[in-house]
């Protein structure tokens, strides 16, 4: 009798244990705004989409390309990429995935109405789509285009029969949120939570949890509290102020990785004569823009004590850098030094450039965009002032700041940039001359322009030999950095926190996904 009771008790306990092990609740800091994977190109939306849908080319946690719905890809001719597709893949509603679905997806992307940030830039180079057989597709481009496979890591594949004529609203309601990904969606409460269920037919590694609740808690303190209270098992975007406390707490563990987001200063390269926020020490405008002088830019760069900012302002959750990408990522320049802090040399450089007594400048930045953004520019303001450039600091909300930065209203300003793991990404967008016709330099808000660099970039963009292309890019990155086109400060560390019993594989691209969580001790 007692034995039976004990056995039942044991069975019950283990049943509860199993039930708990089947459920996962995560909380993310940025809201998912749409389940239409082609409506708004936004990290949180891409994270949610990568749980429900899959891509031809997937990326691993270090942002390296991996086979997804495509098993392999080769440039069969300089302007033709051929993708061999994975056989036997089915959508959540049972329909089979074929090359025709890829063709449908590529055609749908430019037609999504009202999109505030579409995926069109990734498919524009494709001039023709050729379905060779159900498991082979060829994409033709006008010129050799080595970046095509990487561009396709952004494109989630839909099903022609299911999604023909589908509107964004029908995705958001959950009706058409049907893909080939590791989870199927069961409920979507916009801006609050997404509920998911494991897709047992998934072609890749089987997710560890059968049921997932993906909650959005935008308030930093509330997210940490929900983790400590045990309401959620994993959180992302752990605020730097909480990191030290959570590290001491043995109920939770932190998982970190150096990310792809560079924090840097952009400088006014556009104006030859006088920059709006630069004056002499008496407050009179200067006749020439001192930032056009390389020695001044070098002085401003070495006047910044990057390790001090990382240690004191970022509380260790960043890596000081003198280049675009972190170690271990494609296009990282091996051994390229972090500019050493040297206030005396900065003063000498300023004197050589004709500013022995320095000048006055206002440094602008956002105060609600990047971790500790306002405090970073305050620290830099003090460092520059110590090196002889009397600096005022002005932080403002992102929604007004970014518009003004885009109209070249500032002299020096702080920005962040989430990199694709390829040197051409920062070079094309941040460094290349602003040019509407080529589509280059679209986020080059300081309007740096170096025609020699642009020529090199054009040559590399048609180079289909990966090794030779990377060498080309490294040379161009050096060229930009030696000319101090921008002043790199640090690369952010992405931090997740998990309750005991859970572990998440941290991703360089900041995406928080349920398939990356595993049970742990």
């Amino acid at each position: 009798m007692l034995r039976t009771a004990a056995a039942i008790g044991l069975a019950l306990a283990s049943a509860i244990g199993v039930a708990q092990a089947q459920n996962l609740t995560m909380a993310v800091g940025a809201p998912v705004t749409s389940l239409d994977p082609h409506y708004h190109q936004l990290s949180p939306n891409n994270a949610a989409a990568s749980m429900i849908y899959s891509r031809l080319v997937e990326t691993d946690n270090l942002a390296r390309m991996q086979p997804g719905l495509a098993l392999s890809w080769t440039a069969v001719e300089p302007t033709v990429w051929e993708f061999k597709l994975r056989p036997g893949v089915r959508f959540h509603n049972g329909r089979e995935f074929t090359a025709d679905d890829v063709a449908f997806t590529l055609a749908r992307i430019p037609t999504v109405p009202n999109s505030p940030a579409s995926f069109t830039t990734f498919v524009r180079p494709i001039t023709r789509v050729e379905v060779v057989d159900p498991l082979t597709i060829r994409l033709h481009t006008a010129t050799p285009y080595p970046l095509l496979p990487m561009d396709l890591t952004n494109i989630f594949i839909l099903d022609r029969e299911t999604h023909e004529g589908a509107t964004t609203e029908r995705f958001n309601s959950g009706e058409l949120a049907i893909g080939t990904g590791p989870f199927r969606m069961t409920r979507h409460a916009n801006g609050d939570r997404i509920e998911l269920e494991r897709n047992d037919q998934y072609f890749g590694e089987r997710p560890a949890y059968a049921r997932v609740t993906y909650r959005m808690i935008t308030n930093d303190s509330a997210r940490t509290a929900a983790l400590l209270a045990g309401d959620v098992d994993v959180i992302d975007q752990v605020p730097t102020a909480d990191i030290a406390r959570l590290r001491r707490d043995n109920r939770v563990s932190l998982q970190e990785i150096t990310g792809l987001r560079l924090i840097y200063l952009s400088l006014d390269h556009m104006r030859e004569d006088g920059s709006p926020f630069i004056t002499d020490n008496d407050g009179r405008p200067l006749p020439r823009n001192p930032l056009k002088d390389l020695r001044v830019r070098q002085a401003l760069s070495i006047a910044i004590d990057r390790p001090a900012i990382v240690a004191r302002v970022m509380e260790g959750s960043a890596t000081a850098t003198g280049q675009f990408l972190a170690e271990g990522i494609h296009s990282h320049i091996p051994g390229y030094p972090v500019p050493a802090f040297d206030a005396d040399r900065a003063r000498r450089l300023l004197a050589e450039a004709g500013y022995p007594n320095g000048f006055r400048i206002t440094l602008h930045g956002p105060n609600d965009r990047y971790p500790n953004d306002a405090r970073i520019i305050q620290a830099i303001g003090q460092m520059w002032t110590r090196a002889g450039v009397r600096t005022a600091v002005e932080a403002q909300t992102w929604s007004t700041f970014v518009g003004r930065a885009g109209r070249q209203e500032f002299s020096a300003f702080l920005l962040g940039w989430g990199m694709n793991p390829d040197g051409s990404h920062p070079l094309r967008n941040l460094i290349a001359c602003y040019n509407r016709d080529t589509g280059l330099g679209a986020s080059n808000r300081g309007r740096y322009c170096n025609p020699e660099l642009d020529r090199g970039l054009a040559a590399s963009s048609q180079n289909l030999d990966p090794a030779a292309r990377e060498q080309q890019l490294l040379g161009l990155e050096r060229m930009a950095l030696e000319d101090v086109a921008v002043i790199p400060l640090h690369i952010q560390t992405n931090v997740w926190a998990a309750r005991r019993g859970f572990a998440i594989t941290p991703r360089a691209d900041e995406l928080t996904r349920a398939q990356d969580v595993r049970p742990a001790n």
Binding site: N114, P116, A117, A229, S399, A442, S443
Partner: protein
């Protein structure tokens, strides 16, 4: 009565149109939504496409006329971020905010009235002084901080209540409500308390002041002299007469709570309208901001009208005819 209502409605119409112009101009003076919504690596061509897709290439007066024309047909525009009608987004989140606001209101009356009554009847008692001192805290503590302290104490330290979110919901009239399930009630308790603290203090103070004033009135003295029980004196003669200021203030407070419970909603991750509006402001989702403010204006107009009507029920001397 009918004449009064018609006049009030016409006034309201003018207020709405004037507000729409103000709100529209105000919102459109701030920032550039495309810069915020666009993917950072979009090229110039893609940026121009986005500007056209969001209708931002038209001159301001043209945009306003388009907005006004659609608004007259009940369409307040589509959200840039969600690509859904703004009205629909707001209405989806309204039940969550309504139940939170009414929950807070209920708690504040439930706690505030008895305490205020007691403090008014025994103004010199030690307990009354404690109540009044406590009500100062309710006024002065920032709700952001109190909210976090409630979470730390009841969710993290004691583990009695869930920290955030809305919990299980049940359907009623085709809408999901949390107050119908035990789990939902557990979730609503902390945010409702947080939201009600200020209102409890307000009700205590209003009630106490009203009671002290009314107790000195002749009709109360007469009722006492007549030998009525203290119970009857308090709950019939005093209570009815102190309700007018309490109802007025609570009515306005209710509007404010529904419209601007932003802080509590974001601390407790409560998926209501307050959270929607703050998220929309951060990304300059103009149609949602405009639609939200228009709805709030409408709501205040309706609440004020209802408060005026309740007066007539509480105090027969109040007449709404307003002869001109």
């Amino acid at each position: 009565m009918a004449l009064y209502l018609i006049r009030r409605l016409m006034q309201s119409g003018f207020v709405l149109i004037a507000m729409s112009l103000l709100v529209f101009l105000g919102v459109y003076a701030v920032g550039d939504p495309v810069e915020i919504l666009i993917s950072p690596d979009a090229d110039q061509e893609e940026r121009e496409r986005a500007v056209r897709a969001l209708g931002l290439d038209l001159p301001l007066w043209h945009q306003y006329l388009v907005f006004l024309g659609r608004a007259l047909q009940g369409d307040l525009g589509r959200s840039f971020v969600f690509n859904e009608p703004a009205i629909q987004l707001i209405l989806q989140r309204m039940p969550a905010t309504l139940e939170l606001a009414f929950g807070a209101m209920f708690i504040s009356v439930l706690i505030g009235l008895p305490l205020g009554l007691y403090a008014g009847l025994r103004p010199d008692g030690r307990l009354s002084k404690t109540i009044m001192a406590g009500s100062i805290l309710g006024f002065s503590l920032p709700s952001f901080w109190v909210g976090l302290m409630l979470i730390m104490l009841f969710a993290v330290q004691l583990g009695w209540l869930p920290s955030t979110g809305r919990g299980e919901t049940a359907m009623l009239f085709g809408i999901r409500w949390s107050f119908l399930t035990g789990d939902g009630l557990a979730h609503i308790l902390l945010p409702a308390i947080n939201l009600s603290l200020f209102k409890i203090s307000l009700v205590i103070r209003l009630t106490r002041a009203g009671v002290r004033e009314t107790m000195l009135m002749d009709y109360v003295k007469f009722a006492r002299a007549k030998g009525l029980t203290p119970f009857r004196v308090t709950f019939v003669h005093v209570f009815k007469n102190i309700m007018i200021p309490v109802v007025t203030v609570l009515g306005l407070e209710l509007g404010g709570t529904i419209a601007f419970s932003v802080v509590t909603e974001s601390v407790f991750a409560w998926p209501g309208m307050g959270k929607l509006i703050i998220d929309s402001i951060n990304v300059l989702d103009r149609p949602v901001i405009v639609a939200y403010l228009m709805m709030i204006v409408l709501m205040f107009i309706v609440i004020n009208l209802l408060v005026d009507l309740v007066y007539t029920l509480l105090d027969p001397r109040v007449r709404l005819e307003g002869k001109a």
